[in-house]
Symmetry: C2
């Protein structure tokens, strides 16, 4: 039980959209940050299935006291396509994890998962530069992490995804943006990798399969999660059993909370002026 | 500063829609009630102008964890027209101040302002039976109050509205529903009235004109408000100056809070089965 300030008619509104929704941790963390900073805003969960995302989003524009929305699984790519404009990272990645509502109702998406993930590693003393990385997934969060790890100077990046063609496309895009980094698509086989990242939602449900062939993990490897609930996923537990260092999913959220709060509530942020988002 | 329990991904959502919004008091009161009853739900304000009500409402249906919406000025009549079905009081009055979202996305409106207003009078020891009443306004709240006062057995009811034809229509509808009560439309002249009710939003803004010709108030009269902010409107202050008893607007809200909470959060309420939802 943590207390948030009283909600009044003057309180600004922020949503988080997901499907499912009950596991998200962002409301607790962001509302705490709002309270600490004296920002009269509140984040509430909104459970919206993919089929209804567009009509929900159209209605959302009409709420004058809405500052914006944080988007998570499975909506990060779809919501970027609904935005009127995208910030530079969302445009690069092709997905958004936050949408700011401008006072005129325009919706501006941005993607902080990449900076959040790398910032989370650094907050734990882990510099991704020079690492040989296996990244599982090619959805919104995984794509953001792929670009951010490339920007942070990893030595090699292998992207493994259930739908292989999606991994190949993402690998090509990252390689084009960062020609100095060796990027390929491959299997979820962690042999030879010093940093293994689960960038999918596998691990959220108790009966999910392991996203990585854990029996091939090397003992010196770091195994990192984006799944936040449970804090220690089956993957992390298995990795610990192999002697690996665990890096929990909440670090990615913690490292981007301030970015999210500033993006959502700063009224004087420059609004990108591009006509068409280029996905 | 009042504390509400922590908002999590599992928290149910309730909105209040109004234009303007900053003055509403329902979030404070309803969130306190939710906390006291251990209901994991939170009410947040949504500022929506009339022109956008329909598109906002269409998006709202898509939020799976939304229990419903409280509607206030100026949306009580318009939102009733957007609902898939109405409870008996909303149907009688032609307006709704609360909408429950059924699990399938159907929206069911009901109107508790009438019961709230009369319940608020009774909570202060005032029985409206036998009173000669001047009611100002013919919008959603005023209409609900007109029907409820007639049902409570007032001796005479005069309805005064800026647009006179709207007062005449409402007076005819109330007279038809309650043939034993003398109902007419007239001027905002309180001579001969023992209960004077402001059922408009006049008094919310500092420069609003007085809704009643206060110099003609009789000293024995009770003057009642629906405006809650400020608690003592210019009308109430003027009435007190004439020796009248004041009845503040928050009583109408307090007397219907439990009704609102039960209507919004009870999953076992019978859902009216009329027709097709306009999904």
């Amino acid at each position: 039980m943590y207390s948030v300030p009283e909600i009044t008619g003057a309180t600004r509104l922020v949503g988080i959209v997901a499907d499912p929704i009950a596991h998200v941790r962002t409301p607790q963390s962001l509302n705490r940050l709002f309270a600490v900073r004296g920002i009269d805003a509140v984040m509430v969960p909104m459970h919206v299935p993919s089929a209804y995302l567009a009509s929900w989003f159209a209605g959302l524009r009409r709420i004058g006291n809405l500052d914006g929305i944080v988007a998570t699984v499975p909506h990060k790519e779809a919501i970027a396509a609904l935005c009127d404009d995208l910030g530079p990272e969302a445009r690069l990645v092709g997905a958004a994890n936050v949408v700011r509502r401008a006072p005129d109702g325009r919706m501006i998406g941005e993607m902080f998962d990449g900076r959040g993930f790398v910032g989370g590693l650094r907050s734990q003393g882990i510099d991704p530069a020079g690492h040989r990385v296996l990244l599982i997934g090619a959805g919104g969060a995984a794509a953001a992490i792929a670009f951010a790890l490339a920007a942070a100077g990893v030595a090699h990046l292998t992207i493994a995804n259930r739908t292989a063609v999606k991994a190949e496309k993402l690998a090509n895009r990252v390689a084009t943006a960062f020609p100095g980094v060796a990027v390929d698509a491959g299997d979820p086989d962690p042999r030879g990798c010093s940093l293994v990242v689960n960038g999918t939602s596998l691990g959220l449900k108790p009966d999910d399969p392991l996203p990585v062939r854990v029996e091939r993990l090397e003992g010196a490897a770091i195994v990192a999660e984006v799944v936040m609930q449970p804090a220690r996923t089956a993957l992390l537990e298995a990795a610990a059993g192999m002697g690996c260092r665990m890096h929990e999913g909440f670090h990615m959220l913690e490292a981007q909370l301030a970015l999210l709060a500033e993006f959502l509530t700063a009224s004087d942020l420059p609004v990108p002026t591009t006509a068409q988002p280029n996905l």
